[in-house]
């Protein structure tokens, strides 16, 4: 066996240890003997939460990310409380306090940064000792020292109105002290806010009892043996008995400088996070400078750690870090804030979209260039932050309607902030998972939303809470969860996005689910991925699809919906919800003959026979002699309708006839997720067509509005109007084209409301209505093929597809 390389990490903070975790995740334990120097006597903790510790809302023990046991379990030698003193590049050694020496083959410098102390008189006592009452706010020990000193004090001043300074101010307020923030420039949080937002924040802070002094340069800390006040440049004096200096940070580069590697503002690194002067030395985090940038937030440092780990373990020596777009969502003194990119326009072409409501402390500003987001500030209301930060990061085009960028129209958002959410609050209402359950799972080491959803089953029911689960995971991870690479896959078991998968399937002629696993997933069958693959293959190949029954969910194997006791529900097709005496009689006979325990009218205007045994399914279908209503599949389900023009005195269009035609055309069609449709004879919308996946609403003038992307289930959304057309035939054609576009482009189980929001109605309208991509004729042709391939699955009552398809227990045959 090859001898292990020696890896030394200087710095036991979030960057260094996270990078080590990434290295371990790439099999690094096999390759390296790891030694970490940390000048604090603790394991790695979440520095972002220090203000929580200072304010007393979290105990210090709660913010540890890696307790000491973690180092032991991973056979990492931790020199805790030992400051590294020198790097000797020729002998490849790091020497530390207490005469500790560690040899290295590779070295990672993750020394982070230190508070910057501006040149202010009287910060120290005569003779250079620390002056009692003067603090910085950077470490857990700083926290403890401030807390011990603050008891019984009257007034505290924080020098520096940036993010950290305000966090410190918030922490101090909890000691019942009068808190003043002294800021050198004209508005607070200059990194993240523009002047208007800074002013609004100031007003809000003053309402919370913090006094803010702007444009104040501190000249002197007063007091002979301890702090008694501050003197400003204009000689005014502010009495106080405690000062926290939070005037910025400086990368800790001394060690690197003395070791002779290139240092500018930070330690210069290449795209592998490696020093250009010494291929054995890497730097990561706040001490590193990449392409001129030094980052002070966690998200970039995590991206850096991954690249470094890929490179150092040789897992992927081509991995490159290409810089981070800085976006952050945080809470300052309980005020929600999100900030990304630039805060002021940089060019005449830049478009500003702005909303100001000073009274409520709400401010929103976006800077847009060529339809893309260059920067943004959300203060007070960050309900749109997740969407905007993603659009910023991915540089995706924004919808033309700018208003919707700033507000969720129609749906009031009362979601409590994550911090305020009680731990026992149930997040996933389907599977009964609480906030604390998710947090506990994160603490146990799971770091991606998918891993946590798998382990806790949160979000695995109706799926409505998935977004919230992801937000809680990110919050519990201290800012950002790990990106799960599988998030972009069409199904988790095959590492390809939908377009890549479709291309591979076409190129290689893969016509069955097992062929896809064999060719594209290394032969590993992921059971949960099978139905999604089956749906996609059927869409691609139509009748050439090689149908393997085991790839189907049970509902699609027996064409009925499985119930909690293992029985099934049977819903025959009743187009437009219109039935007859003869049909009702037939249904009643079946109910009697098979002792169906429950007969229920469904929300989709049909009749549901519940509690049918698997063995009875073929008989029930034969006796009903009605086609399947497909009330079980990821497919077109039904089309509700109102009475329309037949009897209703308000009816403007024949909604029943249209619903029957829709049912006749789209019945049984595979779609990425279930589709529920409706037609309404007038805008009174009795059949709720505006909140269906696809709906048609008759309007005055003999026209029909087509709605897409509506929802009224776990998620509620009013559909978007795709277009307005004249005749039933046009409705069918455009609905069909939309459905085919959805079938080809949606992720598996992505309902139309998610799909329409993801692509934007403008884009969908351009493709489906205006044929901007020139694919309308092809979409129509594919749809026509699918319509022609329809076959009533209940015909399997006469010829089962697999052995014992409808048997729940087999007799023993000997």
């Amino acid at each position: 066996m090859q001898k292990k390389r020696k890896l030394v990490v200087i710095g036991n903070g979030m960057a260094g240890v996270r990078t080590v975790e990434e290295i371990l995740a790439r099999g690094g334990a096999e390759q390296f003997e790891i030694t970490i120097f940390g000048d604090e006597p603790y394991g790695n903790y979440n520095r972002i939460l220090l203000s929580e510790v200072l304010s007393g809302s979290q105990d210090a023990s709660e913010i540890f990310l890696n307790p000491l046991a973690w180092y032991r379990e991973n056979r990492i030698q931790l020199h805790a409380g030992v400051r590294a003193r020198a790097i000797h590049r020729h002998s490849r050694q790091v020497t530390g306090e207490h005469e500790i020496v560690a040899s290295y083959d590779n070295l990672i410098i993750a020394t982070g940064s230190s508070p910057y102390i501006p040149p202010i008189q009287g910060v120290r006592l005569e003779g250079g000792r620390e002056k009692p009452g003067v603090f910085v706010f950077r470490t857990l020990d700083d926290c403890h020292r401030i807390a011990a000193y603050a008891k019984g004090k009257r007034r505290a001043a924080v020098i520096g109105g940036g993010l950290l300074g305000l966090e410190a101010a918030r922490g101090l307020q909890n000691f019942g002290i009068d808190v003043h923030v002294v800021h050198i420039s004209g508005h607070l949080m200059g990194q993240q806010l523009d002047a208007t937002a800074g002013a609004i924040l100031r007003t809000t802070l003053e309402q919370l009892g913090v006094t803010v002094h702007l444009n104040r340069s501190t000249k002197e800390v007063l007091g002979d043996d301890r702090v008694t006040g501050l003197r400003f440049a204009d000689d005014e004096v502010l009495d106080c008995d405690l000062v926290v200096i939070s005037a910025g940070i400086r990368p800790n580069v001394d060690l690197a400088l003395r070791a002779g590697v290139t240092v500018e503002r930070g330690i210069v690194v290449d795209n592998h996070m490696r020093s250009p002067d010494d291929p054995r030395i890497y730097a990561v985090g706040e001490c590193a400078q990449h392409r001129g940038h030094v980052y002070g937030l966690v998200a970039p440092l995590w991206e850096q750690g991954k690249v470094l780990a890929d490179h150092i373990t040789k897992r992927n020596e081509k991995a490159t870090y290409s810089g981070s777009k800085v976006a952050t969502k945080l809470k300052v003194m309980g005020i929600q804030l999100a900030s990304m990119g630039i805060t002021e326009p940089a060019d005449d072409r830049d478009e500003i979209v702005q909303f100001i409501e000073p009274k409520r402390g709400t401010y929103k500003k976006l800077i847009i260039r060529d339809g893309r987001l260059l920067g943004g500030i959300l203060l007070g209301d960050v309900s749109k932050a997740a969407y905007l930060m993603q659009a910023f990061d991915k540089n995706t085009p924004l919808p033309d309607e700018r208003l919707s960028l700033l507000f969720d129209l129609g749906a009031p958002s009362t979601k409590a902030t994550l911090e305020e959410m009680p731990p026992e609050m149930q997040v996933c209402n389907c599977n009964g998972v609480s906030k604390e359950g998710i947090v506990a799972c994160v603490r146990s080491g799971k770091r991606s939303s998918r891993a946590i959803m798998d382990a806790t089953r949160a979000g695995m029911g109706c799926g409505a809470c998935k977004q919230l689960v992801s937000e809680i995971v990110a919050w519990a991870c201290g800012g950002a969860a790990e990106q799960d690479p599988a998030a972009s896959y069409y199904v988790p078991g095959v590492p390809l996005s939908k377009p890549e998968l479709v291309q591979a399937v076409r190129e290689r002629g893969l016509r069955s689910v097992s062929a896809v696993f064999r060719e594209l997933a290394g032969g590993v069958e992921d059971p949960g991925s099978k139905p999604g693959l089956a749906s996609l293959l059927r869409t691609v190949w139509h009748h050439e699809y090689e149908d393997e029954r085991d790839a189907r969910f049970i509902n699609d194997r027996v064409h009925a919906n499985i119930q909690k006791d293992g029985t099934f529900s049977v819903i025959p097709q009743i187009p437009g919800g219109v039935t007859s005496a003869a049909q009702l009689r037939k249904i009643a006979d079946v109910v009697d003959r098979y002792r169906v325990p429950l007969v229920k009218l469904t929300g989709g205007q049909r009749i549901d026979l519940l509690g049918v045994k698997k063995e009875d399914l073929p008989g029930v279908w034969r006796d009903l002699d009605m086609p399947s209503g497909f009330a079980y599949g990821k497919s077109y389900r039904t089309c509700k309708s109102c009475v329309g023009t037949d009897f209703c005195r308000f009816g403007l269009g024949d909604s029943i006839d249209l619903a029957v035609k829709i049912e006749d055309r789209f019945r049984g069609m595979d779609t990425p997720a279930k589709m529920k449709l409706a037609t309404a004879g007038c805008p009174r919308n009795c059949s709720e067509a505006m909140v269906k996946d696809v709906g048609a609403v008759a309007v005055e003038g003999g026209k029909w509005e087509i709605y897409v992307g509506g929802a009224a289930g776990a998620h509620v959304r009013k559909g978007d109007v795709l277009c307005v057309v004249d005749a039933h035939a046009d409705v069918l054609r455009l609905m069909g084209r939309f459905i085919q576009y959805y079938r080809e482009n949606a992720r598996y189980l992505e309902r139309t409301y998610g799909f329409v929001e993801r692509l934007g109605i403008q884009k969908i309208r351009a493709v489906v209505v205006d044929d901007s991509e020139g694919i309308a004729a092809r979409l129509d042709a594919e749809m026509q093929k699918t319509v022609e391939a329809y076959r009533d699955p209940w015909r399997e009552a006469y010829s089962p597809a697999t052995p014992n398809q409808f048997r729940s227990v087999l007799p023993i045959v000997q």
């Binding site: 590993v524 059971p527 393997e548 790839a551 052995p803 023993i812 045959v813 000997q814």
Partner: protein
């Protein structure tokens, strides 16, 4: 004791079927790679019929609430109680043979 349940052809590839053996209901699965597994038939979570689940390799997903199990070991992959497994083999004539413990009576 060993009990012959019937020919392997009663189970379509990649699916499972249930058999009543005395007072026990046993699920037998045929993986696409040819392996055969035998476990208790009811999901320990809420009693779902495991033979109606989705099978991939030796992982089975219950059709009711997507509990996952390793059929080889019986282990529940998303927590909770696991499955009872039974030794199972194929006879020379491709008959499914399971081994069950003979209970006292």
């Amino acid at each position: 004791m060993e009990i012959t349940l019937g020919p392997l052809s009663t189970i379509p590839p990649g699916e499972g079927r249930a058999f009543d053996v005395g007072s026990e209901r046993i699920a037998v699965f045929l993986a696409r790679d040819g392996r055969v597994f035998a476990t208790q038939a009811a999901c320990p979570h809420r009693g779902g019929p495991l033979v109606d689940g989705l099978l991939g390799g030796c992982t089975l997903v219950c059709p009711l609430h997507a509990q996952k199990f390793n059929l080889q070991t019986g282990e529940a992959l998303n927590g909770g109680p696991g499955l009872k497994t039974y030794p199972v083999r194929l006879s020379a004539t491709n008959q499914i043979v399971v081994q069950i413990e003979r209970d006292g009576g």
